[in-house]
């Protein structure tokens, strides 16, 4: 653990001088990694392979070490092919274990990647004396190590990933959404799976130097998950995820400089902030919009309930004060006041000294509500077979769906009276 802390105490500012050549190299490489990870991440998220993404990043260690053993240096080409091979072997082994044992896939993934990671560490310790293999760099990333050849490799991988995803957009979409039908149509689902695994390993090994093994999976799943919150179509999701990945990388670099911290974690924190923002602001799923919608519906229902109460009080010829309304509805005084204010604005009620009176418009609307309530009661008894004692509460809720009242009226053959024998008003 002291090793980790020593790593974190390192003065990062000495290399990340903005706009210096090294900074440009590092930033460009990270942005490319961010884009490729984001785009591939969409498929990882949608195919529920997040754990595989994590597994791939860990399992490339033995591949990298073996490549290092063979080539004797950290040349990018050897490492790349070592990692790619390790990634595909991982994916194959996972399939094998889950197919030929009763082990389920998640456990199979756990067994395979920990085993390969352990093998990688054992291989490192058996490296000949004097060779330097930086495990810390592998685990936590080391932006200092990003060289021109890394940049060149990423400048090839990222456009290739995008090109493949664009070209195979339709088969990948179908194979991810409905593998059975894809296979029935003659699309090779297995080949596409290994293609994705291969692209993912290639991208992950390139991302290792920027974020390290432990955090690189965040660059894969977090931007894609953020994009998933914001759209209902696959193509916009891919574009957004790539964009979020790029933004996370660029802003992570800035954050790292400002806070004098390592870049990888800074990128992950930016990506997580984007995800949190998407979670809150998503138009369909977002916490904020959901709360807002619920609040609006509550206000709407409250004002309709108050309107009906005013109508009933007038019917019963009782003085319609605010207090009388509060007694009739299950709402607080504040809610009733808010509802009355809304209704006044909508010109449904008027205040005459301390008494509330319906305007002609308000009366019309109230009759509509009462009509809906009584029609729903009739419907519940006749069509749904619900007992008389239970229908009122249910109709109290359903009456707010008053746009369906006329359909019920037609379906029931224009009933005159509700199940309690009260006349159903017409408007």
């Amino acid at each position: 653990m002291t090793g980790v802390l020593a790593q974190l105490e390192f003065d990062w500012s000495q290399w990340s001088v903005p706009f210096a050549a090294q900074w440009w190299q590092e930033t460009t490489c990270s942005v490319l990694v961010g884009i490729a990870c984001g785009v591939l991440g969409c498929y990882v998220v949608l195919r529920r392979m997040a754990l595989i993404g994590d597994a791939l990043s860990h399992a490339v260690l033995p591949g990298v070490v073996i490549a290092f053993l063979i080539t004797g240096n950290t040349g990018i080409g050897g490492l790349f092919f070592g990692a790619l091979l390790a990634g595909l072997v991982t994916a194959g082994l996972i399939k094998l274990v889950s197919q030929f044992s009763r082990t389920k896939e998640d456990s199979a993934i756990g067994i395979v990647f920990t085993a390969l990671f352990a093998l990688g560490i054992v291989l490192i310790s058996s490296l000949p004396r004097g060779t330097h293999f930086d495990l810390k760099c592998f685990l936590f990333g080391d932006p200092l190590a990003v060289g021109t050849d890394d940049l060149i490799m990423m400048a090839i991988i990222a456009p290739m990933v995008i090109a493949i995803v664009v070209l195979l957009y339709h088969p990948l979409k179908l194979a991810s959404f409905d593998p059975v039908v894809a296979a029935a149509m003659g699309i090779s689902v297995t080949a596409l799976h290994y293609l994705l695994m291969g692209m993912l390993s290639a991208t992950v090994v390139a991302g290792l130097k920027t974020t390290g093994v432990i955090l690189v999976v965040a660059m894969v799943i977090t931007p894609a998950s953020a994009a998933y919150q914001l759209t209902n179509r696959l193509a916009p999701m891919l574009v957004l995820a790539g964009l979020f990945g790029a933004v996370s990388a660029a802003m992570g670099m800035a954050l790292a400089f400002v806070t004098n911290s390592p870049t990888g974690p800074a990128m992950v924190l930016v990506a997580t902030s984007i995800f949190a923002g998407a979670m809150i602001l998503s138009p369909s799923e977002g916490v904020l919009f959901r709360m807002l919608r619920r609040h609006q519906i509550k206000l709407h229902i409250a004002s309709e309930d108050v309107l009906k109460a005013v109508y009933r009080l007038a019917e019963a010829r009782v003085a319609c004060t605010v207090g009388a309304i509060v007694n009739r509805v299950e709402l607080s005084l504040t809610s009733v006041n808010v509802a009355l204010k809304t209704l006044t604005n909508e010109a449904c009620v008027e205040m005459h000294s301390r008494e509330v009176r319906l305007t002609p418009d308000g009366k019309q609307r109230a009759i509509g509500l009462v009509r809906a309530h009584r029609l729903w009661e009739s419907y519940l008894v006749e069509e749904a077979g619900i007992g008389l004692d239970a229908i009122h509460t249910e109709a109290e809720r359903l009456e707010h769906a008053h746009h369906l009242a006329e359909e019920i009226d037609k379906k029931l053959g224009h009933p005159q009276r509700d199940p309690h024998g009260t006349i159903i008003p017409t408007n």
Binding site: L46, L167, L168, H170, P171, K173, L174, S176, F177, D178, V180, V181, A182, A183, A184, M185, G186, I187, Y228, T231, N232, R233, L234, M237, S284
Partner: protein, 283 residues
Amino acid sequence: MKTTIIDPQTVVESKDQLDYRAELPPDESGNMAAVSVRGLTVSYGERPVLRSVSFDVNSGQIVGVVGPNGAGKSTLLRAILGLIPLDAGSITLSGKPISQCRNRVAYVPQTEAVDWDFPVTVQDVVLMGRYGRLGLFGRPKHADRSAAEEALELVGMTEYAHRHIRQLSGGQQQRVFLARALCQDADILLLDEPFAGVDAATEQTIFNLITKLAAQGKTLIVVNHDLSVLDRFDIILLLNQQVVAFGPTNQAVNDRNLHRTYGGRLTLLDRADSALRDNRGDS
């Protein structure tokens, strides 16, 4: 609508012989059966799932496949789709193996098997029916899009084209996947439990739709878990790893066959009996 052209005399019950064949006459035009399954045997590992299953379905017929959990119903569909290796036997579609005519068969998956959160709209899903003919790098053309529109129109879902699939009711979801199958222009449709978890009105809609399709000469094989829909099919295949009975519904479905299909699971049988007794006199 009854398109049954099977002679009631040919109702067959398996006699547990391995080389059993369902001898069925060819359809009126003298063509080969749309789907012909011969001695089909499939196993997962050591465990056999289907044992010498044979039957013929002619075009325009709707076959209801009924059997308990683990009876091999879904396996049968997968075998017809050509997705699993066969231990023995053969499946031909109008005399050709599936590998030569993949586009002729469409599959409507179980609602539970679909990822309803996947970012696709109704239109996207229906258009997927055309992917089989696009080739690996192809893009949907104008003709594909209009085929998708037509299919949506046919199932009455045009106005929902731009909705996300999660925003649909159970019946609407079924109709979207039916539209995808139609868009595929297949003449053999395999439906996996289309009536699971839908209300009576939706059930009716789906039945109307598949009856219409059968009248157009499509062949439909419909897998069911629930026995309550039994009497709506022209032809029933009672399946429990092997064919228990195959033939016109009123002939194939009787207490003895149901008992054999469900292996004396009395609770299920009771449910079946009551469902058959008091069902749908009113609808």
